[in-house]
Every structure is written in C-alpha cells, then in structure tokens.
C-alpha cells in the first residue's frame, strides 16, 4: 500500500468529516493504527477543522459547572418515581353511574324486545 498516495486521495479529510461509509471508516481506522503517518495526518486535519470551526463560529460554550448537575442526574440511574394519589370516593361515582345506566338499558331492551309498533 502506498501511504502517500492514500493520504493524497483526500479520504482522510472525509474521515474527519464523518461522512464515509462504515466500511471505509473501518479501513481508515485500521490503516491509522498500522501507519503512524496516516494517524499523524488525521490529527493534523482534525486540528485544522477545530481551528476553523472555533475561529469562524465564535459561540463560547457555557462553563462545565452548568452542565454537571444534568450529567449527575442523567443516564441509567434516572428513575422517575410514580406517585400514586389516594383515589377519592368521587372518582367512583362515574363508574357507579355508568354501571347503573348499563343495567337500566339492559332492563329496558329486554322489556321492550317483543314490542311491536303495529
């Protein structure tokens, strides 16, 4: 493999952009471990992208201390307890009313089943 040719192809720049296919990504990663020149090139490209993104965008991030409380309360440990309120008797009124209605309707339909308008 010709390392210089590989570097010159521009694939490493796309690797840093994160727009290669999974297969190509893995290929670059493997070569980077094998060839120090490739790894150094990737690092230099990344440094350039960091530099321009920093200089051109200029939106300073908030301090880490504003983020920290959110991290501590985040992730796998996050369990929201379910708070059950005691159910008051008023909640059952609706059920009682609908049951009574159902019984009433049943009684009414059985009574009038043989009703003939003529």
């Amino acid at each position: 493999m010709d390392v210089q040719e590989y570097i010159a192809s521009g694939i490493l720049e796309l690797y840093v952009a994160g727009i290669l296919s999974e297969k190509e990504n893995l290929e670059v990663h493997t070569y980077a471990q094998e060839y120090p020149e490739i790894k150094a090139e990737i690092e230099a490209i990344e440094a350039a992208v960091l530099e321009i993104s920093h200089k051109a965008t200029n939106l300073p991030a908030k301090g880490f201390e504003t983020l920290k409380p959110r991290l501590e309360n985040s992730g796998e440990t996050k369990v929201i307890p379910i708070q059950r309120k005691p159910v008051s008797w008023t909640a059952y009124i609706g059920w009682a009313a609908s049951i009574l209605l159902a019984i009433g309707l049943f009684g009414y339909t059985t009574k009038t089943k043989h009703w003939n308008p003529n």
């Binding site: 720049e13 952009a17 990663h29 960091l50 993104s53 983020l67």
Partner: protein
C-alpha cells in the same frame, strides 16, 4: 494525558475526563450548532443537550467508528438539523441555504475593529477561496455527503474529495504561518 486515554476514561464515565474533553471541544461544537440554528440562546441550550446525550451514550462510542471529535460533531449536527426541521424554522427555509459560514467570514472581514479573533480568522482564511469555505461548511458543519455537496455546488462528485483535500491543505498552511 493523551487523547486516547481521556476518551477511554470518558467511556468508563469518568466525569473529570469528560470535563477535560468538554473544555477541548465545547466551543467548536456550540459554534457549529449555531451556524445551523442561528440563534445563540437556543444554540447554547441545544449544545448542553448534546453534551448530556454524549455523556449518556459514552459506552456506545467506539474508536473504530471514527475520531471522538467526529462522533460528537455528528451528534451535534443531527441535533441542530432536528431543531431547524421542527418549529417555526419551517417558515424560514430560505435561511437554510448553506451560506452562513461564508457570510460570517465576510462580515468578520469587514469589521473595522480588529479583535484578536477576527485577526486570526482573517489570516486563516485569507487565501481560501469562497468555494473552499463553502465546501468546508457543507462537509464539516452540515455533514453533507459527497454527492449532496456536489449537487449543492454544481460540481462533479469526483471533484469533492480532491478539492476538499486541497482546501484543508491550504488551511493548514495558513495555520502554520502564524
């Protein structure tokens, strides 16, 4: 500490390693979000959400998938794009054309007061052509594929890779001159 070690500690949910990484990349990440969202206050919020997400997904990062910075950049771009696809931004489609970065550079160039920042930036991009700046914005700040970038800039797909290589090389040259 080496970057690899830091990232490894971060994967094990080491808070102080994450703090160091935050210090290294948070300004870049927040800035890139703002090039897409274009609202500083909202971008700050999204940026914090992004770092919470990064922390929550620490164990899923794997170096074979790419550089750590590339990984978090991708999370940030996706969050910013989700933001503009929802809400009121729908009505501002025209603002979504990929020229924000270019216009920021141009407006910074016009500023009469030279702060350290603008001076540095001017030096950085002085020999970069507009087509380079556009391409860098599309590929790095917006995550366009080669094909999408080629369509946007009306150039052959095969040109994207080589042009980007020469643009980044120019940028590196400029950095070296300081």
């Amino acid at each position: 500490m080496q970057l690899e070690q830091l990232v490894e500690k971060f994967r094990e949910k080491d808070m102080s390693a994450f703090e160091t990484l935050y210090g290294m990349y948070a300004d870049n990440i927040c800035g890139v979000i703002n090039t897409i969202v274009r609202n500083e206050a909202r971008s700050q919020e999204i940026c914090q959400d992004v770092f919470v997400k990064i922390w929550d997904n620490a164990t899923t990062y794997n170096a074979s998938k790419g550089r750590f910075f590339t990984w978090i950049l991708n999370i940030a771009r996706n969050a910013a794009i989700d933001e503009i696809r929802s809400r009121s931004y729908k009505n501002e489609k025209k603002n979504l054309s990929a020229d924000y970065f270019v216009s920021v550079l141009e407006s910074k160039e016009e500023e009469s007061v030279d702060t350290m920042e603008t001076k540095g930036l001017r030096k950085l991009v002085k020999t970069l052509k507009k087509k380079c700046v556009q391409l860098i914005e599309l590929l790095y700040f917006r995550g366009y594929t080669q094909k999408e970038a080629a369509e946007e800039l009306a150039i052959p797909v095969g040109t994207v890779k080589t042009r980007n290589r020469s643009c980044i090389s120019k940028l590196r040259e400029n950095m070296g001159e300081r």
